[in-house]
Each structure stands twice: as C-alpha cells, then as structure tokens.
C-alpha cells in the first residue's frame, strides 16, 4: 500500500488560487492547472482516502459530516473569486499528473460547462406539505367537497355516514392531484426566470426531520443580476400556497452542483 499522499479534488476554477491555507479551514489548497483551467486540490492521507480506507470511513458519520462540510467550504471560498465547477465528494487522484491528464481529456466539456455557469448562481427550493392542513383547505375550497358537506348537514344520520365516507374518498383521490398543481405552479414560476432548472428526488421524512412531507425538490441556475426577481416569486408562492399548508425552503447561492453535466439539462 502506497504511503504517498493522494490528491483530493474540490472544483475547477477560472481563476488560479494561490497555494494557501483558507480562512477558518484546516486545509492547505493549491491548484493543478491546464491552460486557463485550474483544479483546486489539497493533499490528503491514504489513511483516510485510499480505496479501502475510504470505504470504511464512509460508515463513520461524524467523519463524513466533517469532510463533506470541508468540501463545501473550500468551494464556497474559491467561488468568491471566479466561476467554479464543483466536483462530487471523494474525487481523488494518485498524482497531480493524473489530475492534469483528466483536465486535458475533459477540456472541451469543462469549457462548455463554464460557459453555461458564468455570471450565474444555483439556488434551491424544497417544498414541504402539511397534509392535514392541505386537506382542510381543500375541504373549504373544492366545490364537489363543499356540495357533499352541504348534503351531510341537511340529511339523515345514516346517509350522512355514507356521504362522509364518500367525501374522504374524494379528498384522498384529489389530494395528490391538487398538491401536484401547486408544485407544478411553483416549479414553472421559478423556471421561467431561470437560465436552467433541475428537479431532484424527494427525500424521506427521516432524513429531512421535517413534519411536512417533501413534495418538491428542485435547483435553479439564476443570473446573478436577476436574483431580486425571486423575492417576488417566493412572496407570491407563500401567499398563494402557504395557507394550504405548503412550506417553502428557498436557499442559496450555492456552487452549481446541479448544473455540471451537459446531459442533465432540466426541462
């Protein structure tokens, strides 16, 4: 097993960062350049990052949390000075030369990506739904439901029981449909003002630790000089859909993790 230090890749930047210790982060970064593209890296120990050891370390949540946060912090620092293409956690090379070869092999691809990213930031939306509250709002607003409610109050006890059941059936059937209308509206409004968009998978409640159910998880690539427009969009969304029990987590600016691949353009 080689004792030699490995090369950990954070991102590729359009500006060459000097070799230095970053503020508040216990890591010395340097760069490996190919023409005007600069891979921002640091040396890491094979004790942590060799293939066998990394596999083992991934099961150590405190370690993973610390390293993932460092990964993000480095990229955020570099992002202050130029456009960055962020890499996924755990992209590691045996040597600077191997990394330089990778840059050369992907030169065209990376240049295309940088062109798409310049002057833009990623922002994200996560929408959560309080199902109970949403159902209550539905009961008040949906005409069909309101009609049944009317009937229930004015009819016999026996018939009311069956009508109540029917009401619940209809409620559950339209629930998904109505939530979908809201998330579609949300996505469309944000998408319209964005350069690009991507819908991501929903995360389960045990991961989000939220009371509401995640109903939309999306990322948007936004022109830096248009970000103010989104304040109004979020205001509208919260006003229109908030009372139905929808909660909007709008965060940014992020390094453009979701827009680093030419194949994965959002609709």
């Amino acid at each position: 097993m080689a004792d030699q230090e490995l090369v950990y890749l954070y991102c590729v930047s359009t500006r060459k960062p000097g070799r230095r210790q970053l503020n508040g982060i216990d890591i010395e970064i340097y760069s490996v350049s190919f023409q005007d593209m600069h891979a921002v890296v640091s040396k890491v120990s094979p004790e942590e990052f060799s293939e066998d050891n990394l596999k083992r370390k991934l099961g150590d949540m405190k370690w993973l949390e610390e390293k993932a946060l460092q990964h993000e912090k480095v990229i955020e620092e570099i992002m202050k000075q130029g456009t960055v293409i962020p890499f996924k956690f755990g992209t590691i090379f045996q040597s600077d030369q191997n990394l330089e070869n990778m840059l050369r092999d992907n030169e065209g691809n990376f240049r295309d990506i940088i062109t798409d990213l310049e002057g833009r930031d990623e922002w994200g939306i996560k929408v959560y739904c309080d199902i109970k509250k949403f159902k209550l709002a539905l009961e008040k607003e949906d005409e069909k439901i309101r009609e049944i409610e009317q009937e229930i109050t004015s009819t016999s006890k026996g018939k009311a029981y069956f009508l109540e059941k029917k009401k619940q059936e209809i409620l559950n059937k339209v629930l998904d449909e109505k939530i979908s209308e809201c998330t579609q509206d949300t996505f469309n409004r944000l998408r319209t003002s964005s350069a690009d968009a991507k819908i991501n998978k929903l995360l389960p409640q045990e991961v989000t630790q939220k009371e509401g159910k995640m109903v939309l998880n999306a990322a948007f690539l936004i022109e830096k000089n248009r970000i103010r427009e989104f304040d109004d969009i979020l205001k509208y969304l919260r006003g229109e859909h908030g009372r139905k029990g929808l909660e909007f987590d709008w965060t940014g600016p992020w390094p453009p993790y979701n827009f680093c691949s030419k194949e994965e353009k959002g609709s």
Binding site: I85, W254, C260
Partner: protein, 88 residues
C-alpha cells in the same frame, strides 16, 4: 463545531414568511449540503473509485445521521450488504 459556525456566517439565507433574512438551523443546512456534495457535482472516475455499494452506504449514513441516536445505534449493528454490481 467550527465548520457549522462558519456556515452561520455565510451569506446563504432562508427567506421566511415575513420576507426577513433568517439563518437556517444546523440540521437543515447540513441536509442541503449533503444533498449536493454527496450526490451532485461533476462525477469523474478518479484513481480512487467509490462503488455503488459505497454510495448506498452513504445514503444509509445520511439517514442515520439525521435520525435519533437510538436509530443510529440500531443501524450500526446491522450487517452491511454484500458487494453489488459496479456501475459501468
């Protein structure tokens, strides 16, 4: 933790109902970071390859980290599944 304190100072913000800037809680920020760092960004095979099984381990870990300590204890005792197909 120093790393998380640094995050509180970032210009990253959550706009709440009143349209005021409010800092995110630690756990919500962590979720957002892991959702990106572990799953997105350029995916290039370096010299150290994380296989599909390792990625499943990360997702199991992601769930574990944000769950209760009790769940964590229970899951740490669970056997890790055998090797799966490497991605092509």
């Amino acid at each position: 933790m120093a790393a998380v304190q640094f995050l509180f100072q970032r210009r990253k913000r959550k706009l709440n109902e009143m349209n005021e800037v409010a800092f995110k809680t630690k756990d919500v920020t962590l979720l957002e970071i892991l959702d990106r760092v572990l799953d997105k960004g350029v995916i290039i095979s370096g010299d150290v390859v994380i296989s599909v099984a390792d990625v499943d381990l990360i997702y199991l870990g992601l769930k574990v980290m944000l769950s209760s300590v009790e769940t964590m204890e229970r899951l740490r005792g669970a056997p890790i599944e055998g090797p799966m197909q490497e991605p092509t």
